[in-house]
Symmetry: C2
Subunit: 338 residues, 2 copies
C-alpha cells in the first residue's frame, strides 16, 4: 500500500510509491522509453496486459478488453495511489503520514501507436476529453477523494515511460498545496476586486494581444506573462467556471480543437519537444470555492536545476512575447483543425 | 537587462533572462553537455574565455586570469541576474515586474576537467566551500541583495551545460518563496515548541538511525523522511546556525568531508547519476530570523512530470529507509576520506 508522507520543514507531501518500489541499484540503467509498437501494452490486441478497462468508447458489439475501442481507460498497473477503505492520518513524532488511498488511471487516447494528439481526427480528440470528464465525474462522487489531477506527459524526459499516446488521472485524498495556494490567491483577489482573477487575466490578454496564441468561442490560449518555460501556454475557458467537471459538450468540442491547435503549433515550432499538459481545477466537495479551471502546457525546454529547487524562481530564456510570435508564425494543416 | 516577473495566479517569480535569450527555433537541437576538455572554457589556459576572476586561490606569484589557480570564481558569461544600481518594482495592471538586479557567478572547483568533487584531495574540497563562503560574505554586504543561492548541478539532465566541475552562485533582489515558506514554518514551530525544528529533526534522525547515511562532529547526513527523490540526502549542521555565512573554519573542514563522503556514496550506489546540491540558508539583512541552514542533495532519479507540476506532490519509488541502507552498504576508498 502506498503511503503519503509530509516533510516537516517544507510541509510538502510525497507519495512513497511502494507499488513502483525500486532499490537504488535499479537506477543504473537509465529510464528508457520504449520505441515502436512491438510489445506495447496499450496497442490493440494487448488488452490483457493492462488491468481490466473501467471505460471504453468502442464499436458496438465488441467485448470489453478486446480490440474495437477508440479511447480506453484502465487502472495504472503500477499505481501511485490505490483504492482503499478509508484515509488514515498518523502522527509519528515530528512526522505525519496518510494512507495512500486514491486512484491512478491511464487514458489510452487511441488505438494507433503513432498518431499523437494534435494529429488525431477532431472528433477523436473531443472523445479523449470526454473520457477525462467521465472519469472525473465518476470519481468525484467518492467522498474519500479531495482532488483529481488529470495530465499528459509527452516524451521520455517529460516522464512518459511509454510512447503510445496516453494521459493519466491521479485522485488524491488531500487538497494539493499548489491548488490551495492558488485558491487563496483567487479568494483574496475576489475580496479586493469583486471579480475573478483569471477572468480578468483573459480580458487583459485579449486586449494586449502580444501573448495570445489562439482562441475560439469558448477558450483562450496564451503564453503567460511570467512563463516558467519557453513556449509555456495556458488554455483557459472564457466562461467563468470553477471546476473541469462543469465543462459542457459545447465547450468540450472547442477544448479538443484548441488543444490540438496548441500542441500542433508547439510540435512544429520546437521540433516535437517533451511536454507536460496539466489540469488545474477546484478541489472536490467544497462549497463557495473561488477558482477558474484551466490547462497549463509546460514544454520541457529549460531544465529545472539547483537554482529553481532552492528558490522556487524559474529562469526562462525566451520572453513569452517572442514565444507567442514564433508560435503564431506556424502554419497549420487546415484539415486537421477543421 | 534581465527582468523578474511575478505570475498573478501562483505568485511565482520568474527571471526572463534576456542575456540567455533564445528564440524557440534555437531549441530544435537538444541541449548538449560538451564532453572532454577540448575547448572547455573552465580549463587552465582558457582563462580569457571567461569574464575576469573575482576570486582565486592560486600559487603565489601567478597573475589573475592565468593558470596557477586551485579554485577560481568568475561572473557567469550568460548571467541570469546582473549588477545594477537599484531594484525597481513596477506594476503593470495585473502584472508585477522587478529589475533583474543581482549577481550570477561560477565557482570553478579545480583545474582538472575530470576530477569531480568526491574524488578531490580533502583540503581541496574544503577550499571549494571556502570560496563559497568568501563570495557569500562579500555579496551579503550589498543591501540591494536579499538572498544568496549557492548550488551545484551535476550531469546534463540536472542542468550542467558544462562538464568541468563547477558550482554556481545567484544572488536575488527578493527573498525566494521557498525560503520564506520554510521560515514561516520554523517560526511557528519555535512558537509552539520553543526549539528549532531542524535541531529536533537532527536529534530524531540520530535516535531513529534508519535514515542516517553519515555524520561527523559537525554535520549529519540523512535521507529525509519525506524524500522527493530516491537517495535524496540532507546535510545539516549539528550546531544551531541560521545562515551559511556563520560557518566557521572547523565546520568548513567537516563540511568538505561529509559532502565528499555523501557524493561518493551516491556515485557508487547509483552509477554517477545527475544531481543538484542546493544550499538552503536565511535571507540577508533580517534580524531575529529563525532558520537552520543546510544542504539538500537531489539525485535526479525520478522525473518531475505532470502530476508533480499540478499538485506539488512528488512520487518517490524508493523509501528513504531503503535508500539509506543501500548508501550505507557502499564501501568508500578510505584515503579519499582521510
Amino acid at each position: 500500500m502506498p503511503e503519503l508522507r509530509q516533510d516537516p520543514v517544507s510541509q510538502r507531501w510525497v507519495i512513497i510509491a511502494t507499488e513502483r518500489a525500486k532499490r537504488p541499484s535499479d537506477f543504473k540503467p537509465p529510464h528508457q522509453e520504449k520505441n515502436g509498437s512491438t510489445g506495447c501494452p496499450f496497442c490493440p490486441g494487448h488488452e490483457k496486459e493492462t488491468p481490466p478497462e473501467v471505460l471504453a468508447f468502442r464499436v458496438a458489439g465488441t467485448a470489453p478488453d478486446t480490440p474495437g475501442w477508440r479511447v480506453r481507460v484502465v487502472p495504472n498497473k503500477f499505481a501511485a495511489l490505490a483504492p482503499g477503505d478509508d484515509v488514515a492520518i498518523e502522527n509519528r513524532g515530528l512526522y505525519r503520514t496518510m494512507s495512500g488511498t486514491g486512484a491512478h488511471e491511464v487514458i489510452i487516447e487511441g488505438p494507433d501507436h503513432n498518431t499523437f494528439f494534435p494529429d488525431m481526427a477532431p472528433d477523436h480528440a473531443v472523445q479523449v476529453f470526454k473520457a477525462w470528464r467521465q472519469r472525473y465525474l465518476q470519481l468525484s462522487r467518492d467522498k474519500k477523494l479531495q482532488y483529481i489531477q488529470l495530465f499528459k506527459n509527452h516524451g521520455r524526459t517529460a516522464g512518459a515511460s511509454l510512447e503510445h499516446p496516453h494521459s493519466q488521472l491521479i485522485a488524491t485524498p488531500l487538497v494539493p498545496v499548489t491548488v490551495s495556494q492558488e485558491m487563496d490567491r483567487f479568494k483574496s483577489y475576489w475580496q479586493e476586486q469583486e471579480s475573478c482573477l483569471l477572468c480578468d487575466v483573459v480580458e487583459a490578454e485579449l486586449e494586449a494581444g502580444a501573448r495570445v496564441t489562439g482562441f475560439n468561442s469558448e477558450f483562450l490560449a496564451f503564453c503567460p506573462f511570467a512563463s516558467r518555460f519557453p513556449m509555456e501556454t495556458w488554455i483557459v475557458p472564457r466562461r467563468h467556471q470553477t471546476g473541469f467537471g462543469d465543462c459542457d459538450d459545447v465547450q468540450l468540442k472547442q477544448l479538443g480543437a484548441i488543444v490540438q491547435e496548441t500542441l500542433g503549433r508547439l510540435k512544429k515550432a520546437a521540433g516535437d519537444p517533451p511536454f507536460n499538459l496539466v489540469l488545474h481545477t477546484a478541489p472536490l466537495h467544497q462549497d463557495d470555492v473561488i477558482y477558474h479551471w484551466h490547462l497549463e502546457l509546460l514544454p520541457r525546454l529549460a531544465i529545472v536545476a539547483g537554482f529553481e529547487w532552492g528558490t522556487g524562481i524559474y529562469i526562462n530564456p525566451t520572453p513569452p512575447e517572442i514565444a507567442a510570435q514564433s508560435l503564431n508564425e506556424i502554419k497549420l494543416d487546415q484539415e486537421a483543425l477543421a
